[in-house]
Symmetry: D2
């Protein structure tokens, strides 16, 4: 038995290559799917089946392309109506070498979710692992809000029943293989520990300690954001996305060529660390450091040219690959030699003021007029924030900009300084002034023992 977990950064997506003998299957392949083909070649295996645990909203699934490369059959659940693949009946079994693979309907996150249980008949009939998609995560469960408010209660009930009546009966001993790890937009409380079992979740997953009614109420009221790019993902994942093939190949641009495209309306995505952005950036850029790249889905259009600014050429593959994974095929170029080429040409540069936490504290204490703009999620905000601050989630910054007064100095804060940098760049794009990004964020605020309110 070959088992390989493939982690995709940014969207914190987990997919699985599982095989036995010379046969294998893949669960939830990512868009740049050559990696599964390469494993198959390394192991001398053929990918026979592709399982989609559900219609994904947060990344582009690569099933169609992988099927075209391998001849594998695609299976998914009964909702929505996919334009490709087959709907798998509840309980259908597949033989893959010595493995018995069973598709189990586990609705809740959507009405069409399935889980994939795997037994190794070489050693017995017990389920060894179960791929749970977005039904059950390590320390969290799938969101139930994609059907809209009216469906939410029912979906939450289904989720409870799927977990307690379909998954847990497989046994405490079953290894858990979810579709997302920590950092995913699909579950804000997913633990950064990657390893779990059904038993560990039964015993420790906080929301699964609730009774059914409590659970349903909790899930029905849980707060989630819906990033605009989700809409595009939903379409691509029902109809099938364009092939990734050998991957994107946008041109290297000199500072002058970059400037020309920028003046022609291309959008600049500056992926350097926030302090570098602060010290000198191109007017109108979005500032978003690598590890939070997924947030671009809140603001970046899919149909206008995008230009990349990188700290180092070595980030090229990471950036273009991860943008493709969330459907951005519209990268029109990148600045060769990073922004240094721009500096060396003497081209115009803007600044964003950086502020330390002690400076912010001193300013507030001195009675200066500051708006503290906290751009963390609602959940983080509720756990403790600076008195008098305003909360607008970073993803909604562009839409809710009107709520930020124009005549006050603004100190933008998040957990550590990355999301606040992004939010600051959104405000600068809209012509706002007197914006300051707080280095170290609420972590520093708390580390220094400054007071918070809830």
């Amino acid at each position: 038995m070959i088992f390989e977990k493939i982690k995709s950064e940014v969207v914190s997506h987990l997919s699985y290559f599982i095989g036995s003998g010379n046969e294998a299957f893949v669960v939830d392949p990512r868009r740049d799917c050559q990696i599964y083909v390469d494993i198959a070649k390394r192991e001398g295996m053929n990918i026979r089946h592709i399982f989609e645990t559900h219609r994904n909203e947060d990344y582009v699934i690569g099933s169609l392309e992988l099927a075209s490369l391998t001849g594998a059959e695609i299976y998914h659940g009964p909702w929505p109506e996919f334009k490709y693949g087959e709907v798998v009946p509840d309980g259908q079994e597949f033989r893959v070498g010595k493995l018995k693979v069973t598709a189990i309907r586990t609705p809740g996150h959507t009405p069409g979710d399935i889980s994939i249980a795997v037994a190794d008949t070489a050693t017995g009939g017990e389920t060894v692992i179960v791929c749970t998609g977005d039904t059950l995560f390590v320390n969290d469960t799938g969101r139930t809000d994609f059907g809209g408010p009216e469906a939410r209660r029912e979906w939450s009930e289904n989720l409870y029943d799927s977990i307690f009546n379909k998954l847990f009966p497989l046994g405490d001993h079953v290894v858990l293989c979810p579709a997302h790890g920590s950092g995913s937009v699909c579950g804000g409380k997913i633990a950064d520990r990657e390893m779990s079992t059904l038993g560990l979740e039964r015993l420790m997953n906080p929301v699964l300690q609730l009774g059914r009614e409590e659970f349903v109420r909790y899930k029905a009221e849980e707060r989630h954001e819906y990033a605009p790019y989700f809409g595009r993902m939903e379409v691509l994942n029902v109809e099938g996305a364009p092939n990734f093939g050998v991957g994107p190949n946008p041109p290297a641009l000199t500072a002058e060529e970059f400037k020309e495209k920028w003046e022609g309306g291309a959008i600049v995505l500056d992926t350097r660390p926030p302090p570098s952005f602060g010290a000198g950036h191109i007017k109108g850029s979005y500032s978003l450091a690598l590890k939070r790249l997924g947030l671009v889905g809140w603001v970046l259009p899919h149909d206008r040219p995008v230009l990349l600014l990188m700290t180092s050429q070595s980030h090229f593959d990471y950036l273009t690959r991860n943008l493709s994974r969330i459907g951005y095929d519209n990268v029109a170029g990148y600045m060769a030699g990073s922004i240094v080429d721009w500096y060396k040409k003497g081209l115009p540069v803007e600044r964003l003021d950086m502020m330390t936490v002690p400076e912010l504290k001193k300013a507030l204490d001195s009675g200066e007029d500051w708006l503290v703009l906290d751009v963390r999620s609602h959940d983080e905000w509720e756990e403790g924030h600076i008195e008098g601050a305003t909360n607008i989630y970073v993803g909604l910054m562009e839409k809710r900009l009107d709520e930020v007064p124009q005549d006050r100095r603004v100190a933008v804060i998040c957990k550590s300084g990355t999301r606040s940098g992004f939010a600051s760049s959104i405000m600068l794009r809209e012509g706002r002034e007197n914006i300051h990004n707080v280095l170290g964020g609420m972590e520093a605020w708390k580390a220094l023992g400054y007071p918070t309110v809830q």
Copy 2:
């Protein structure tokens, strides 16, 4: 939480790098231990602790060298008296970032075995994984014969109690991390599935389905072989092995230089596939293909020069690294350009006849006088062999050669043809003639539907 399993081929050894925050520990490091340092550097972590689950017999442990590279402390159980490190009390806890790591005494395989239980306090107090060393494997348990016949029953009782009273109470949900995978000499029935939990073993591990007394009897009578190199491992693993450093660097030899060393008494280890060996080899070579390399421990001395013959130069690292892992620091060179250089110089070449299974069947049916020499393990032999065959385990071939008559044609057979090639080469070394290696082995015999007896 960072979790990385490091597999070492040949001895099928599994070791673990587990970390949290900027701290980490390693369980049962292998001799070429730079790999753990590299993971630590990649993750920005410091290795604080090294746990040895037991005194190993089948490979050289790298604790001392890893400790000297990192400043980590070494811990092991109370038996035997190690000349380095500390004895850890039963139940002692360590904090590693957010992890709670507990050493649990689990005697049985030896009186000094410990297991390492890991809880992730970020999500609760339950044990997430347990490193069980040679106490519990996937589908098998540790051997209990290293204390000699008189201690065997007691050690087997201890093993049962350790598994049922110390490990299983941690819960079905605990992920199992043993020290060996399939192919190890430490457990002949270890499954090739790498993933398991305590619950899966409780439910499916065959020997754990027995009652205590039945279990003890089974383990006390289980048949194991004791390879001569074990003795050296025991010494090195109590006293500490010489440093591996940047690894071995034996010289590339021309055919003439190779010949000179060979004539001077160096031993040739021919690692090409058995058919290549059959078609033309150097007199006196041991034939042992890469995947069964560990068997050299039965015959290869640690104090005489060894010469390597490889299919391809690309095998150099694999070969020298794996020989070092079992304590062979005496490689005196390898033939550059593989054996082709020897052929091209017209140097003397010997052959070993290859026989197909239908040819063997026909020969036996025709009444010709053949000795079928089955060199598989006792367990494999008992599951079915050719009527009239003789069983001598390949590892004992050199010692028990007298039992093979000199005047009969010999067809050497194993499962598929690799171990029989090794056994054949041992006989050729001793001047035996009329030796034939059976291609495809008992697998082919059974595939063709020929009869076996038990």
Copy 3:
């Protein structure tokens, strides 16, 4: 200035990525052209131009696919009429960053050959390197026989004039960058030293030490073989080959699946070393070890399914990639687990006898009736062979099989044993018997001091 030489094994093809600033060009890209795109991405460069030094016969050129990936323009000489790209005028200059790149017409190998001279204007106007395609190699010059016998003299004259009047005037100091290295079918005497300059060739290249008339006569009479696959290369390289994309992905087959396709008429290509083939192979296989893979072009059809047998799964990429480079897109699968799976199923196995050189000598001396069949090239044969031997070049073995008597024992010999293994397998395919492959070949014969005649 970035300069990178890309070597492609098997056809010993050399291509070049050369760049300056953020611009680059490629000379003679291979079919699997992603490697150039990857260099460009790593360096932050754009490939602007692709130069084809000539219409290639021995491998598939990747210009069209590389152009589609990068937007580069393709340039070649005036012969033949390409269905893509542009014809470049003699002396045309291109600016690539700070480089001045000049296309120079150097007919001779074909009427359309061009060379690419590169000066680095940052340090002066002298030519630094020249890419000479098949016009001038290290220690050899391009063949002049592709125009047929009637054109051969004229093409040879052109070659002389191109080298002496177009290339050498660039200066002794110019670094030579040819399209092939040692082992290519495009020049039998190419040195295995990869580094040269125009001056070194002027002073040491044997054929350039001749006077013009002598040179022309030599080249016009030089003996070359024309492999059947050349015809296909010529078509693909004029019309443009199908895209390579992410590369071939033939299925892994069990022994039974393999057998089924084999029985259905698929051709088996056995790439294990000759001794392994000798000890047990599948009836009808071609035997051709990796390093001589290019010879398959003599016999392997492009339109029938081909099955691969490999020593190790790790050879998969090498094999399928190199077959694609010479136009074989018809690989229908490979045996997973190498031939061991076949052996283990007890499926039928054939043998080819291996013979050592002393055995051959003894047999010949004893007056036994043996045909020594020497399958080396005409040039190698002329330098010395065994008295009484017959010479049929390995590539022509299939066509000239009638010249080999059916009633004699045949000892097949080449330089070391690989080509003789291939020739032997061709004879076995045709039902011949009593074939023996001589291990070590003429090298061993000479090393042992046995006599040869010229």
Copy 4:
């Protein structure tokens, strides 16, 4: 013939692995010398000889360690008195496979310089390549100032004679293999083109276009800086450096641990880009971006603990390896998680103001009192600088700080902004205020058409 050029960043050092058959030699091995052993293992070769072209001042040579790993003999010239290896007579020849290797005395850069000429006897007697150490570079020649002012003229004469009477007679066709590429402190005008021949240098190298007397005068007056770390290199390279082994392994530190060591007197080396340093750094840090790392040799002691700050953990190997190459074995740790961990703890942060070139121009034009401090080399300064500016070479900043008035605003400028960042950080360390680093530097100044004087 195997030829491999090994480039080492930072010191722009080039070393060479050259082999034939199963023998090889290395010219000027770097300190982390495992790379040569790995090439030898890959190729099936033995390193027999190590040549040191001269006593190096700018990096630690790895000859002794490489010799201990391989048994190779070390050879160098007659000056200074090395404590290891042998002095090679002028003209001594070595056979390495089919190569003829000749040591040629080429004094000038030092009295003990040798060059290594390589002929490939397989194709003739002409020299193919020559390794020239610091005697002759692409577009430049070695400095002649290490003997002090009184010896300088004589050394310059020797250099001329070595080049014109010892090297050039080998022929225009000889490939040039110098010990340094562009960016080295050993030659400020070395071209970034890596490929050259003796003929190209004879024709285009600017200083070689001069007559002998002109050349000698030029070289005797050429301006060079002598970095303090050179002294340590000289000692290590005469006596032999401590082994590199498996390389440095400094600990990962939390922000608190880092702070503690910093407060205890450890020196912080901040390797992030200058804008990041500007936006927030730790008081007293040196700011030096990766590509200019070699400049640390001007200020960093070898005997006090050094702490590293990196943009990304992926820079760890690059940084520690390159520091080791110039003798820094005193790295005491690095901040895990980059400076973000420091920010998140709210620890104290300093800023350095960044200034754009238009801002500087405007300030100067408006009559504000600014000192423009140009920290480029003397040669760069002479080619054009801002009127009224002061030139102090960055390497001398610490020593000549008194020349900078304390009461003026200072705009620090270099070519693009990296060296000025380093110089700025040196001034901040000494308590200076009102320091501004000019982004884009003189390149931007010139790109914008602002006036310069010479």
